[in-house]
């Protein structure tokens, strides 16, 4: 069959090709990341010193900024990049499928992201903005924010949620039906497994969010009282619904990263993954337990002590499969023949920072300790260690690992390493001091703080500036590579048993696997 494909705008806008759609997802993630990143730098400039700051005491604006930072990073950066971007690019390639199961649905799920993004921008600029935090708890998101910004935000999440749902259905159908003969589920690459588990989490969690959002929209606009106490509703009900979605959501963001890290660690150790089956079932286990721990986000709302006890115990259990993953990565490296190009640096960095984030998670899982730490900077440090360091490192890790495959051009190795060190130092400098701020009691989401918190905040701000320069440098590396990078062979990392994406050319032809590849 020929490699004919539509040209010009038709190729992209009407695309049903998983590689083109993956590329567009990555580009949209860059847009979301730019928005979220710029907002994060504004936050750190505001918090660099106590006082009115750069926002000049406009506290509602500050709240809007933190809200939009969170939403854009989660829904428009991490998810599009890891799931839409790498998932679309590499799931079909890794399982030897010619494309996704529902190529047109793939197109819809991509293009739903853009109206959602526009709605989120509306939510930022309409009225005084949606200053509710990304968790938009009522009554604050109801009586506390009367203008339309919150409605725009909720609609944006509806649309983004529909986009993720369509995407996840597509992945499940693709992975379950379109594997090449011989690739049983237990021979599937771990990244594909991670996408399968992630897709099921999206499928089960996002509808609950959609329900909660719909109830909130009804409360706001049509006089219902799901969450209004004076009408017999309960604000805490919203939190249950939100976190029933919200906790699986954090695994939705990190599981694809787990898959990527396994591939990269195995490639650069020149060894197969240690304990493949435990790795698979650790992910399945994390996904399952992720659905029954939601109220650990609500340890201070006044749940019954027995409920708190249950959620403490259930949450602690997560440490076990997570530990299996960390130790298995270490064991994969053990006895290997290690080299350290940029993706491997990010993978090792990931293992370290994700361990740190996981360990503070153990502290937070204890309701008795969480009482001190809930809604303080300790929590901010914790979830940025697993997401802003963990998920982001895995994103960069996958990007450098596959950039040559996707673009056909190799990035300059030294520059990649410089980018790694800027990111590693910058992010740790930003977020490590936040543990101290949280322990000493600094609450989250405040635009100004008591003077005692000033020194650590200053250091965190310097770290985020370094990180900002790191990002600029990264964009430069990407643009340079696209223009002047060296051509890449099919299997640039010299794997002895490469996964299928390394058996096709770099970049892969428009249509791949027109005849099914063989798996031994």
């Amino acid at each position: 069959m020929s490699q004919n494909h539509p040209t010009g705008w038709r190729r992209w806008v009407l695309s049903t090709n998983h590689k083109d759609i993956g590329t567009m997802y990555l580009i949209s993630a860059v847009l979301g990341g730019l928005l979220g990143g710029v907002l994060s730098i504004i936050i750190r400039i505001q918090l660099a010193d106590p006082g009115p700051g750069i926002l000049n005491d406009n506290h509602q604006l500050y709240n809007t900024i933190i809200t939009m930072h969170g939403l854009s990073m989660i829904f428009f950066m991490i998810m599009p990049a890891l799931i839409g971007g790498f998932g679309n690019w590499f799931v079909p390639l890794m399982i030897g499928a010619p494309d996704m199961a529902f190529p047109r649905m793939n197109n819809v799920s991509l293009w739903l992201l853009f109206p959602a993004f526009i709605l989120i921008i509306f939510a930022m600029i309409v009225g005084s903005g949606a200053g509710t935090g990304w968790t938009f708890y009522p009554p604050l998101s109801h009586i506390g924010q009367p203008n339309m910004a919150v409605d725009f935000m909720l609609l944006a999440l509806h649309v983004a949620g529909a986009s993720s749902l369509l995407g996840s259905i597509n992945f499940i159908a693709t992975i379950l039906n379109m594997r090449t003969p011989g690739m049983t589920l237990h021979k599937m690459p771990l990244f594909v497994w991670s996408m399968l588990v992630t897709s099921f989490l999206i499928l089960l969690a996002v509808p609950v969010l959609a329900g909660a959002i719909t109830m909130l929209i009804m409360d706001r606009n049509f006089g219902t009282a799901f969450f209004v106490p004076s009408g017999g509703g309960d604000p805490v009900l919203f939190q249950h619904l939100f976190w029933f979605f919200g906790h699986p959501e954090v695994y939705i963001m990190i599981l694809p990263g787990f898959g990527i890290i396994s591939h990269v660690v195995s490639t650069f150790s020149r060894k197969p993954v240690f304990g493949y089956l435990p790795m698979v079932y650790a992910m399945v286990g994390i996904g399952f337990v992720g659905f029954i721990v939601w109220a650990h986000h609500m340890f201070t709302v006044g749940l019954d002590v027995r409920a708190n006890a249950y959620f403490t115990a259930a949450t602690m259990i997560i440490a076990v499969p997570t530990g299996i993953k960390i130790f298995s990565w270490l064991a994969t490296m053990w006895g290997g023949s290690l080299t350290f190009p940029t993706p491997m640096l990010f993978a090792i960095g990931f293992i370290f920072v994700f361990t740190c984030g996981g360990l503070t998670g153990i502290v937070l899982s204890n309701q008795s300790l969480d009482v001190m730490l809930h809604d303080t900077y300790y929590v901010v440090a914790h979830f940025h260690y697993v997401l802003s360091l963990g998920a982001l490192y895995s994103l960069f890790c996958g990007f450098y690992y596959w950039f040559g495959k996707m673009s056909g051009r190799q990035y300059p190795e030294t520059w990649g390493k410089i980018h790694f060190w800027m990111t590693f130092i910058g992010t740790n400098m930003t977020f490590f001091p936040m543990h101290f701020l949280g322990l000493s009691g600094m609450p989250r989401r405040i635009p100004d703080y008591p003077d005692a918190f000033a020194p650590w905040n200053k250091i965190a701000s310097y770290g985020s500036y370094l990180n900002g320069f790191g990002m600029l440098f990264f964009f430069y590396v990407v643009l340079y590579t696209l223009r002047k990078g060296k051509p890449v062979p099919n299997n640039p990392w010299d794997q002895s048993h490469p996964t299928l994406e390394w058996t096709v050319s770099s970049p892969p032809p428009f249509h791949t696997f027109e005849t099914q590849p063989k798996i031994d």
């Binding site: 506390g144 304990g275 002590v305 076990v320 008591p450």
Partner: protein
């Protein structure tokens, strides 16, 4: 700059020795405990901290060792081993035991923190945008507590932590605290007491406090409640029971 560093360091030393019940610059850990609950939180946290430091240091050390020992120059031929059942069982079970080690004191504390059955005083805390209302139901007292604006700060009053009328409580007394809100969700938190409880409209939450030392204790609203969320601090003034009685009388007669 060196002078500023010195000054900060000096302030740091001064603050540890004199300022209890509020944070100080470069602070690394929890504030000093003023209640039995907080003392136990310190203990449990210290235990957990030792364990997670141990695990973290172990993982970091193994990583460094692997990077050194198994780099390509030193180990050109990779091993083929992908399973070791004994090892896999060990690294599943050890975390289990460590978790149980943490869970036992943690659960004890959780139930201890929950409620008190013999309270000598009940105070109702009501969160409002953007102030706290304190009500002593048994004594018919009820007043609002606002942030002291920067311009009105008296010497010694910490910025963004001081209020015009603090909550006054007697020391060495079991006090029941009830929490609610009239508008959005707020959260009443005083780190030195080991207390953080959400004030949810339509609900009444409960916990308790037993302050052991006289002094001023500071906290801040800990649930995003709107534009001035960062500007509704909490000050608690713990006084001796006799002084508390005097305060009650004076307050009633006003």
């Amino acid at each position: 700059m060196p002078f500023r560093c010195f000054f900060t360091f000096f302030f740091f030393l001064v603050s540890i020795s004199f300022l209890k019940g509020q944070p100080y610059p470069w602070q690394l850990g929890f504030q000093e405990a003023a209640t039995p609950i907080m003392e136990q939180i310190h203990d449990v946290h210290n235990l957990v901290l030792k364990i997670i430091f141990g695990i973290g240091a172990f993982v970091a050390a193994v990583l460094v060792f692997i990077i050194y020992r198994f780099r390509r120059a030193k180990n050109p031929v990779p091993s083929k081993r992908t399973h070791n059942t004994a090892l896999e069982i060990i690294w599943t079970l050890i975390p289990f035991f460590l978790l149980i080690l943490i869970a036992v004191p943690s659960f004890k504390l959780m139930f201890y923190m929950d409620k008190t059955h013999d309270a000598a005083l009940t105070v109702k805390v009501t969160g409002q945008q953007f102030l706290w209302n304190y009500a002593y139901a048994d004594h018919d007292i009820d007043y609002d507590s606002h942030l002291v604006q920067d311009a009105d700060l008296k010497p010694g009053q910490p910025r963004l932590l001081s209020v015009d009328e603090p909550l006054v409580v007697p020391i060495n007394t079991n006090i029941r605290l009830l929490y609610t809100s009239t508008d959005v969700i707020h959260s009443w938190a005083v780190p030195a007491f080991g207390i953080k409880m959400d004030c949810v409209p339509g609900r009444l939450n409960e916990n308790w406090v037993h302050v052991k030392r006289e002094g001023l204790y500071y906290g801040q609203c800990s649930e995003l409640c709107g534009a001035n969320h960062g500007f509704m601090p909490i000050t608690v003034k713990a006084v001796s029971p006799s002084e508390f009685k005097k305060w009650l009388d004076a307050k009633k007669n006003r």
